[in-house]
Symmetry: D2
Subunit: 363 residues, 4 copies
Amino acid sequence: MSNSLGKLLVVTSFGESHGRCVGTIIDGCPPGLQITADEIQREVDKRKTGIASTTREEDDRVEILSGVFNGYTTGAPICLLIWNKDIDSSDYERMRFIPRPGHADFTAFMKYGGFNDFRGGGRFSGRITATFVMAGAIAKKLLKLKGIEVLAHTVEIGGIKAELKGFDEIKENVEKNLLRCADLKASEEMTRLIKRVKGEGDSVGGIVEGIAINVPVGLGEPVFDTLEGELAKGLFAIPAVKGVEFGSGFSTAGMRGSENNDPFAISDNKIIMLTNNSGGVLGGISNGMLIVVRVVIKPTPSIAKSQQTVNVKNMQSTQLTVGGRHDTCIVPRAVLAVESIMAITLYDLALRSSGGRIFLEVD
Amino acid sequence: MSNSLGKLLVVTSFGESHGRCVGTIIDGCPPGLQITADEIQREVDKRKTGIASTTREEDDRVEILSGVFNGYTTGAPICLLIWNKDIDSSDYERMRFIPRPGHADFTAFMKYGGFNDFRGGGRFSGRITATFVMAGAIAKKLLKLKGIEVLAHTVEIGGIKAELKGFDEIKENVEKNLLRCADLKASEEMTRLIKRVKGEGDSVGGIVEGIAINVPVGLGEPVFDTLEGELAKGLFAIPAVKGVEFGSGFSTAGMRGSENNDPFAISDNKIIMLTNNSGGVLGGISNGMLIVVRVVIKPTPSIAKSQQTVNVKNMQSTQLTVGGRHDTCIVPRAVLAVESIMAITLYDLALRSSGGRIFLEVD
Amino acid sequence: MSNSLGKLLVVTSFGESHGRCVGTIIDGCPPGLQITADEIQREVDKRKTGIASTTREEDDRVEILSGVFNGYTTGAPICLLIWNKDIDSSDYERMRFIPRPGHADFTAFMKYGGFNDFRGGGRFSGRITATFVMAGAIAKKLLKLKGIEVLAHTVEIGGIKAELKGFDEIKENVEKNLLRCADLKASEEMTRLIKRVKGEGDSVGGIVEGIAINVPVGLGEPVFDTLEGELAKGLFAIPAVKGVEFGSGFSTAGMRGSENNDPFAISDNKIIMLTNNSGGVLGGISNGMLIVVRVVIKPTPSIAKSQQTVNVKNMQSTQLTVGGRHDTCIVPRAVLAVESIMAITLYDLALRSSGGRIFLEVD
Amino acid sequence: MSNSLGKLLVVTSFGESHGRCVGTIIDGCPPGLQITADEIQREVDKRKTGIASTTREEDDRVEILSGVFNGYTTGAPICLLIWNKDIDSSDYERMRFIPRPGHADFTAFMKYGGFNDFRGGGRFSGRITATFVMAGAIAKKLLKLKGIEVLAHTVEIGGIKAELKGFDEIKENVEKNLLRCADLKASEEMTRLIKRVKGEGDSVGGIVEGIAINVPVGLGEPVFDTLEGELAKGLFAIPAVKGVEFGSGFSTAGMRGSENNDPFAISDNKIIMLTNNSGGVLGGISNGMLIVVRVVIKPTPSIAKSQQTVNVKNMQSTQLTVGGRHDTCIVPRAVLAVESIMAITLYDLALRSSGGRIFLEVD
């Protein structure tokens, strides 16, 4: 396993869904950032959603174990932890050797020789994204000091697409509905769909869009540590993500160069682009426009319907009905994870960029 | 800049489009692999395409500068190099302060304070992918020793989609047409489109699919170094890639869980999946099925049409018509790059995986 | 800060001397290793020493927070933690702006802008080595499965040198005295010296030797990740270490090549060396002989004598007498840290080595 | 193998002693540094020494293959290369299966399965340090822009110790003698010794000291990436280095805390230390004083005397007399390598440090 992300801001995730805790270490955070457990708590609480999600009561309390002294970061590694409670693992023993389709059960069993903690998906549970959200809370605060804001929202669920909105409207509207969708009308429709699908014992997926504003020109370290590549790598750590695209993304396959190229122009004595098909990245480097990334979240693999699978121990085919409490749609939960991974990665690249440039500049 | 990819197999790329050379260092290649410059040459030659591409004669000769002795790799870093020839940089001086829309000119100028080698795009040129292809030739040979094969092909150009084919047919057909498309009928249509678009002074993009067969269960190091994340990071180093998806990718947004989950079954006493919506990856780990990844390539930004841009020196708006020789469609060239990045990443993950597991297993 | 060590076995340290806890994450441990908190506890308990050390009662209880399930490692990151108790920080507020000579107070204050947790030395306290010892306990167990054993012992304190002993005698004798010195007679002399020096309000340093047996030929990844280089890097993380040498070390400066070269010979159909001036490493790679490394530990900087220092706030010279409970000699505590760092590094290099070689070998 | 050093300034070494070339890639060098091949050449030429060294004529010409445009670094990876000439490999075929005592022949043969390029030591030759010196030339120039200067000199050869000198005298005197020793009288004595030892068919080792002035407080990233640890790791890449110590180093083992602690004082409204037993590093972080490091270089393993060794193929004991041209004392050649590794590491840590701190500071 490889559970660290970033080069100068290094985030390490640990813990299991039904183990003692989930936690994160943030190493490389500059000293002097004012931070409280309550602030981080508020971000974690946003993961709790109503309609779309499991009924498990996650009374998650964030604790700061290290790296903060008298209310300020010290420069030392920050350990943030949530103790697990309210855990019912009874259903998992039954499925120990019967991998759930669409889950990591099979690959984890094979890779870790059956020693992996399979309860609740263990390290592969969506709950692990709480560790991203805790670290992301710190990264978001660091970015805000530079005026950079990261925001994610649901733009599609089960085929229902949200209408495009401006940044401020998105920011306001995501707090108004449990699906964290900026198009409130679409959100209602999505909610109805989720309820119906839930009744069918099935699940739906969707698309989350992440946006970052005020990102200066220059983040990204080509040719291999591009802004897109680093963001994509981080985003694929969110369970159920199966695709990542920037700006016009896959739709550029059908566009002409003359349509897709974003013309440069001068505005307020600053160079801007008149369109943003690039999603804010050219040559793997931020270009000063909005960073726009979309990730697709596959439908929750845990469904109440009977599914064909196998027993890896006796190598027999079998049918499985996954019980327990599961989100019909995990898209809303992924929203916070996308925001967090974006913030962590952008801040890491900002540090690397200033590290790489500052020495000569100072002269 | 950050020009190294991989952790145990580390590939470092260097050189510029109009500089003295482009080259690569492959560090971590096991000793004892038989390899000749000719074999690597054959892979590099596949990058040369006719219809879709520039008329620049790339008589690229691969040289092995280190790491190979008596025809075998030694375990030492392998330096592979192509000297640049036939370079006409005259057109670029004119555009030094006038960034071409859709190119990295603007971001490179800003990030590197105007010191970047702007001729032919410098480090941001598609020519840099020749360094990926050289390293990929070695990675592909290493994988083949384990029966793993990587194959990429064009599946869409300018909105024209190729029909799905089986692995063997793809392998055979890509060599039969310059677009490296397995659907020969679609290829003809694409060719006509490219010619027409070229006549219009415009360009088109498309989609490349990469496939890997016989990948064993267990490659990928979650939660952050997932198979998808590592592949995506590498693939975004290919200029013009704006999205990466696995298996059913973005289309899973409209699917139900019951449709998308791949049922497990027993075949020949092996566990397989009856469908492959996952693209061969579950929980960030290979599941033994075909690895299937698709990348979208934006239309070539260099077009003959006049475009709106700015002069970064005098901060005035201006119009630009990009001359020189440019591919109307770079999709066919990207095919080899996709194949190469996949091979490099899969082999690196294979080393990491065996490293992580072998010690206890041996007992 | 950069608090992770290793490439495939990655150990991350966190926590502060007078904060809530000290802890470690071990990422990359193979699944299937049987391990209990008690076993790790036994290693941590060895750090408690009598004569040489502070009177602080460290009733440290190791807790396993993640990565172990049903008594076996799972392949997931292992979090080990010790809650801090019995903390008296009263003396440190007084010294907040008055750096203690020989300590990290001054550099930490400057580097972290005064935000560092200064109580008890914070991140720079010797107590942080408990996190190395916890991780080392796991690495030592992993190595033992391959027959590799790591052992450290005190070879010099305050100028008193121990006589050379064989591996088995060292192993037995270190447990017989609080100084973990294999020469029991020298140990008594050292003890008397420490008592006398303590009475004088002063402190002494010394030398710790680390040995590893049964290390196979081939560990170490030149030219930069040599066995010596990787070990040295890790060992300098132990507070107070000011030098590292292998085999004949600094004394080779006065030797002739003919004396220093270790002749090869055949023994039991195995290639051995007749002497071990190399300390088991040639060309940065283990040669199958005993790995022998020595680190020098400077005298404890905390002394009861009055010392000249400054007040960084008002920039005035001042005198300081360090109160509190401090080891007169920290050498015995460093013994376990040396052993632990050696084990972590050797296991990491073993994984890297097998990762690098196994793929071709299997064919 | 692992042939890259550094995190933000990444130096990759490649090439073999008797292969086509030796070279280096410097990735992460800021754009805008004026540099010529001639400047780098001058540093490489300092490696050529008379009395102490082999008679091989190294007419090494440094070529810049990438990363420099119009005389300035571009921010892209810089490839520097020296083509090998004047190579006589005839003597090595004879020794292919007969490892030379004290050399890497045996460990390289075993680790790389006999595929390693054994001619002239291949990757393990002292000639590889020319790649460090090329990269170091750039790092030294970058440091000089900030007023930081790195300087190494010979302080001991074959038991003959040089007297201590001040920085300026060292700087001047090293250029006055081939041994790069600041004590010119000792240098003469050393020269006589080397001549005598050469006549005996034997060799001698020694100690090189590296110094850095004007290093600001704050370089080094504890707990694991300490200034000492990172320097030591790099220095052990120099063939024949068997020990590294800082400040008073191994002699602190016999000191009392009251002697060893460097008292703080105010001078010119700056905090200084009145002594420098710490060698400029406290808690793994530079403290503003001179960085002082010493490395021990073992006697050249290649000697004309007959030595006992084995034939690894037929597993028989045998005698070996190493012919060819070899330095009787490689200490003077190591001087430049020490300087170079110090410069590379200090600059890398400077980038990491500014990267880590600058973001909050700017506000």
